[in-house]
């Protein structure tokens, strides 16, 4: 096994409140700060940052992505643990499907695949999925993402029932009754384009529902992929009142607005949709002040031919692993002198905590699970040359700042930049 020596890296680990420049060795897959004299690949990391591996709370395992390509793409983005949503085939609403996926992941996965089970059977929102059995089979959270139980009674019972097993519930807030088509954000841009169907209200009503339910039954709820300014306000107020909710947003909602869809490019069609400037600003503020706890990639691969159709007929979805860290760094560094600590918190520490998935620290003797990040490097993303099997990214050809240079997962080097 190759050993590594990183000289003078800035090491950030929010779980231990660590932020200092140190030499770090990886010996036999484990981290040590004690000088090692054995043969090691030496990396001058004096301008670089080492952070715990990124953790993703929303990943959709759809064709053309395989577990192998998904592992490679995630590792290239500095991700070492990702939560796969239950809408895979077969859906993760029974222990057999969960175990099958684990078996496959254990064969080809170079990073940790964590599974999110269905909250309701087939995510249809009609009856609860067997949450206890799913937990025994290995799921670490439950959700109906990218849907949401429309029946509030089912939602409440699901939360009560899941809390018995200490299973985190992830809610993708969307009231389908006022967003049946959900093609685009309802605003001036879509009005002009003659599309729409996914108003802010559809999200905000269900964010409020989650807050009200959480307050009444004292259950933790994690809100996924927040896209609207009103939601940020609701969450901020709820947190101030001590209601146990957490929330995430995506790199694209932080970086883009619905102007991106003006040419009807389906690669910018996502769920929830890209919204207006004011929403993007509110999301940025929410991330900076801690209202929004995490960033999830919402990585949703699509075949190229699936996207090469009429905008309203194209499936929604954006891939995100290879750009997430850089896009978030680019955005936050515009408003924050040194966003690396914040990034380590919102892209690794907080999501890990929400999944109750501890032991990921950069400490003496710990298994190497970290990303080597070069904040100073600018690069142009080319979706066609990425490691993901899909290409549906709105960041294709964008110049972004900050580059993942190397990723270690489960003690092994799983990525290094070409």
């Amino acid at each position: 096994m190759t050993d590594y020596f990183f000289s003078g890296a800035r090491i950030i680990d929010p779980s231990q409140n660590l932020d200092e420049k140190r030499d770090l060795w990886v010996t036999n897959g484990k981290i040590t700060f004690d000088r090692q004299d054995g043969e090691a690949v030496s990396v001058n990391a004096s301008e670089m940052v080492i952070m715990p591996g990124m953790v993703d709370l929303r990943s959709h395992l759809h064709a053309p992505e395989s577990l192998t390509s998904l592992s490679a793409a995630a590792a290239a983005g500095g991700y070492t643990a990702i939560l796969t949503m239950p809408d895979a085939r077969p859906p993760a609403d029974n222990p057999g499907a969960v175990r099958l996926m684990q078996e496959k992941a254990s064969k080809v996965g170079t990073i940790k695949f964590l599974q999110c089970g269905c909250l309701t059977k087939g995510s249809k929102g009609e009856e609860l999925a067997p949450l206890g059995t799913l937990k025994e089979a290995g799921v670490v959270a439950v959700s109906d993402c990218p849907g949401s139980p429309q029946n509030t009674e089912i939602f409440v019972k699901g939360l009560e029932y899941a809390s018995m097993f200490d299973l985190p519930v992830i809610e993708f807030p969307r009231d389908f009754s006022i967003s049946p088509s959900g093609v685009a954000h309802d605003g001036p841009t879509s009005l002009k384009m003659g599309i729409g169907g996914y108003p802010r209200m559809a999200e905000e009503l269900f964010v409020q529902r989650a807050i009200t339910v959480s307050r009444n039954i004292h259950a933790n709820i994690h809100l996924s992929s927040i896209s609207s300014s009103g939601s940020v306000e609701l969450i901020r107020d709820a947190k101030a009142r001590g209601i146990p909710i957490t929330a995430d947003t995506t790199p694209h909602h932080l970086a883009l607005t619905d102007e991106k869809i003006l040419g009807y490019d389906a690669n910018s069609k996502t769920m929830p949709p890209l919204r207006e400037k004011s929403d993007r600003q509110a999301i940025l503020e929410g991330v900076l002040d801690g209202t929004i706890d995490c960033i999830c990639t919402a990585h949703e691969p699509c075949h190229e031919h699936e996207k090469q159709v009429e905008f309203d007929l194209a499936p929604s979805g954006i891939i995100g692993y290879e750009t997430a860290l850089s896009v978030v760094y680019s955005e936050l560094s515009r408003h924050h002198k040194d966003p690396c600590r914040l990034i380590a918190r919102i892209m690794s520490e907080n999501p890990s905590r929400i999944l109750k998935n501890p032991d990921r620290s950069i400490a003496e003797g710990a298994v190497a699970d970290f990303v080597l990040f070069d904040p100073g490097k600018e690069w142009k993303y080319n979706a066609r040359q990425g490691l993901s099997a899909a290409r549906n990214s709105p960041f294709h050809n964008s110049l972004i700042k900050g580059s993942v240079e190397m990723t270690f997962s489960m003690g092994k080097k799983v990525y290094s930049v070409r």
Partner: protein, 304 residues
């Protein structure tokens, strides 16, 4: 693709050409064979009578070969994508493809994959440029210059590509556009596109030089946009009585198909105020101009 991106000069150029064709076609001695040997494909994937036939007649009047494909006869029912269908049309030698489709942006999408010129004959609720151009043509015939003229578009604006194209086009020609109808079909946000929004029928008719009625598109909306067609007629239907609110010389346009007794009284549709059939006739000349200019534009770049 749409009137949003056309300049005033480009619109004027099309209208001038249309006027010329209108004159030429009314003269039996004058031959218009500008598109002889050209193959025009009408790819109509959404029901349409007027627009399709007008494009067919326009192409035939220019001596082009026209092939019309309608929703049911195409391969799309066999699962082929729009892109593949259009690429096949191109491979089969289409010199221009006229596209009507229920998805907004479908023409623009095709123009990115196909080299042959794509002519938008209506894409979802986005734009219907040839309709707006013939409306402007008809309005100019009746009102002269549109500078400072007040045009009210009444009806289902939200789902209307005709309203959007007219709003861009008329505003560019200097007219002041009021969009009128129930609040659920005429959201305030249209003001950001430069229109005045009104939910008061009387007010919106009183100072209009022309009123353009739009059909209520039952097929595009669910029941929540207004209670019933009866209620619509009661509140917003243009009746003989209400037409008294209009200025004496104000004209009435309608892109068709008309729902008599719903958005307009039958008698009013047949009255001298209505220029509905002139619109249809002008539609041919305007579409001749569009076909001629679009295929020629390509020729010129090839010569370069």
């Amino acid at each position: 693709m749409g009137l949003e991106e056309l300049s005033v000069a480009e619109i004027e150029c099309i209208l001038r050409q249309a006027a010329k064709f209108k004159k030429d076609t009314s003269n039996p001695d004058c031959q218009t064979d500008n598109l002889k040997g050209k193959r025009i494909v009408n790819l109509f994937l959404e029901p349409s009578t007027r627009t399709r036939i007008a494009f067919e007649i326009a192409a035939k009047s220019l001596c082009a070969d026209v092939i019309s494909i309608t929703g049911k006869s195409s391969s799309l029912t066999k699962g082929e994508t729009l892109r593949d269908t259009a690429m096949n049309m191109q491979a089969l030698g289409a010199d221009a493809i006229v596209v009507r489709h229920s998805s907004a942006g479908s023409s623009l999408f095709l123009s990115h994959t196909i080299d042959a010129p794509i002519i938008n004959a209506g894409d979802g609720a986005h734009e219907h440029p040839s309709q707006a151009l013939l409306d402007i043509f008809t309005l100019q015939e009746n009102l002269g210059s549109l500078k400072g003229k007040k045009i009210t578009i009444l009806g289902d604006i939200l789902f209307s590509r005709v309203a959007r194209s007219n709003l861009w086009g008329l505003s560019k020609m200097g007219a002041k556009v009021t969009l009128a109808g129930p609040s659920t079909l005429v959201p305030k946000q249209f003001e950001q596109m430069g229109a005045k929004v009104s939910h008061d029928l009387r007010e919106s008719l009183a100072d209009a030089d022309a009123v353009m009625l739009l059909r209520i598109q039952h097929e595009r909306q669910n029941s929540s946009h207004f209670p019933s067609l009866d209620e619509y007629t009661t509140m917003f239907g243009l009746t003989m009585e209400r037409s008294e609110w209009l200025k004496p010389n104000a004209i009435i346009l309608h892109p068709g198909p008309i729902n008599r007794g719903v958005e307009i009284d039958s008698e009013l549709a047949d009255s001298s105020r209505a220029v509905i059939l002139d619109q249809v006739k002008n539609g041919i000349a305007v579409r001749m101009a569009i076909l001629f200019l679009c295929t020629n534009a390509i020729k010129r770049t090839e010569d370069d």
